[in-house]
């Protein structure tokens, strides 16, 4: 039998592996991933109309009246440059209407917008209204869209290819629902330290804490990725993977920002992953400071709900020119889709986010807050010498 005191230091990587194995096989975590998968995947299965083609449809609706105006000689007395641009606009809309394929339609519409920009700049539209950032974003979107191999605007969610659908679906999940796997995995791992259980008395202190935090975090990330798979598979089977360079354009603090659908998915993943670390760390801290797991779960749930409400409340305030101090708080970044953006961003007016927030700042802020909570946890663990049995 074992001799007393015959031991090496514990292998925390093995502990991590075992805790991760435990966490990823918990039915509650798998059920949470399944619920998320259903929320994300609905649009892949059920055809839902999108607003993506609306701007082009509106332009086409304008075609008969523009044609009538030109034919009736309404522009005969107009300045020559306006007359020329109106004629070209009519030609662009005619090309749109008779286009053989969608790429031709998009190119014609892009040309129409370019001409419209000239009208704005010349002061011919609505009493001198200027070409704004939103209009520029729309033009940039169609310019970028024209430059990819098979430009397409998807009228229905089931037409959208996998990458595009995923990016769009991720933005449709409300608030901080994406963080549920992190809460569940943190609670499951915290349950291993329930009164009397083996790990309560385990030596290892901070190293055991790393293993618990990392296992809960990795399990949450894996559950998150698992919930993405049905959307990718169903939309992939129906409409292909899609062009990763498909443009995503939006207005951020008055500036037009252009990115790609692949980048929005990558950013969403990165931000959700770092956000999950913060959520797991906060749950762990709450669990260590409160005597009962039920109470800790309740407090963690309420905290997340408050964070979500705060983030939504802050986001309801239109961005101001100067950076808000809330940009250094973690809440605004928990509504990940508002920061990472999504394909339909271009069709909405300027992003309603807390002033001063950016993706890069969000990554830093979430990482630093996570680090701060982990340090607080380490202090709690070092100061506590007794265990709860």
């Amino acid at each position: 039998m074992l001799a007393a005191g015959k031991r090496e230091s514990g292998s925390w990587l093995e502990v991590l592996r075992l805790l991760l194995k435990y966490a990823v096989t918990r039915p509650l975590l798998l059920a949470t991933a399944a619920v998320l998968a259903v929320l994300l995947g609905l649009g892949s299965v059920i055809a839902m109309p999108t607003m993506n083609a609306e701007p082009m449809n509106l332009a086409l609706e304008y075609l008969p009246s523009l044609r009538e105006q030109v034919e009736s000689g309404m522009y005969d007395s107009a300045p020559e440059d306006l007359r020329e641009s109106t004629t070209e606009e009519l030609a662009a809309l005619e090309r749109m209407s008779s286009a053989a394929d969608e790429s031709e339609t998009i190119r014609a519409y892009e040309r129409y917008l370019e001409l419209l920009q000239g009208d704005y700049d010349a002061g011919y539209i609505n009493g001198g209204q200027r070409w704004g950032a939103h209009e520029q974003a729309e033009l940039s979107f169609y310019q970028a869209l024209s430059s990819i191999d098979k430009p397409e605007v998807y009228a229905s969610t089931t037409d959208e290819p996998a990458l595009y659908r995923l990016s769009s679906a991720l933005a449709s999940v409300p608030g901080v629902v994406w963080a549920l796997p992190a809460v569940v995995s943190a609670v499951e791992i915290a349950g291993l330290r329930r009164r009397g259980r083996a790990l309560v008395q385990a030596p290892g202190g901070v190293r055991l804490l790393w293993a618990e935090l990392l296992s809960a975090w990795l399990a949450a990330v894996l559950a998150g990725v698992l919930s993405w798979l049905p959307t990718l598979l169903v939309s992939g089977a129906r409409a292909g993977f899609g062009d990763p360079r498909y443009p995503v354009v939006f207005v951020w603090a008055g500036q037009v920002v252009q990115t790609t659908v692949l980048e929005t998915v990558t950013r969403t993943f990165a931000m959700q992953a770092v956000g999950a670390l913060l959520v797991v760390a906060v749950c762990e801290l709450v669990g260590r400071c409160l005597p009962s797991l039920r109470l800790a779960s309740f407090v963690a749930g309420v905290s997340l709900l408050l964070a979500s409400t705060t983030a939504t409340g802050l986001a309801a305030t239109p961005a101001k020119a100067s950076a808000s101090p809330f940009a250094l708080a973690p809440f605004p970044y928990l509504i990940v889709s508002e920061i990472a953006r999504y394909p339909e961003s271009v069709f909405f007016s300027e992003s309603i986010v807390v002033a001063g927030t950016t993706f890069e700042k969000g990554m830093w802020v979430l990482t630093l807050w996570s680090a701060a909570v982990v340090v607080a946890l380490a202090v709690v663990i070092r100061r506590r010498t007794s265990v709860c049995l």
């Binding site: 074992l2 001799a3 031991r7 259980r197 790990l199 010498t385």
Partner: protein, 248 residues
Amino acid sequence: MERKGCGMLVSQAVSISVSGRTILDEASFSLASGEVVGLVAPNGHGKTLFMKSLANAHESRCGVVVAHAEVSADGICPTDGDAYRKHVLYLPAGREFLYPQMTVIDHLRLIGASWGTSDDIGHVVDECCIDEMLNLRVRRLSDGMAQQVALAAAYLTGARYLLLDEPMNALDHGHVELHHAILRELAETGRGILLFSHLLDDISRVCDRTLYMKDGSLVEGADLARHLSVEQLYECLYEGEEDERGNS
């Protein structure tokens, strides 16, 4: 430099009260490495609280007050944290120590990795004869099988002082014999064992000495009456109390 209390788990002037009722009043206790000590008391005498207090557990229940003047294991104090935890392990009664959804082998791996004794898993499995249940989840085990796993896990920690709370209750005769032998073997390798059991036969067969919790004190059986057996002493000490409890 020799450290105070080396080779011994010592608790001095321990006082425990529950809702104002005194369970132990400045009692002293020691468990030397290499000995098996039995702890005897009827239900409700606070033996679990006492054993938990030796493992440096804080009690979150209202009304429970535990105070030690001094507690140490081989000179290591609870404030030393991990070092103390590696020295002293409390094994609760029943399945409380185990995770229902985890397999037996994963329990042993987790404990081996946490306590740094992974190399001994095979040895413990052989000694405790649990090789046939390694891939079963604990929730599928009978009470007796779960008790065997809990004991194996406790042995695997390599803790010098094991505080075992009713460890033989669910075991069949053969496994009781096996674990009696293991406990004696552990004591021979220098480990100290505090064994609480309502099965007085366990106490008399495996323990070097016996302590009785009575009137706020820990009383050494040998000091009371050297010629009486554990069962006889138990009857002398607690007969009246059990009658009172029965009447009430």
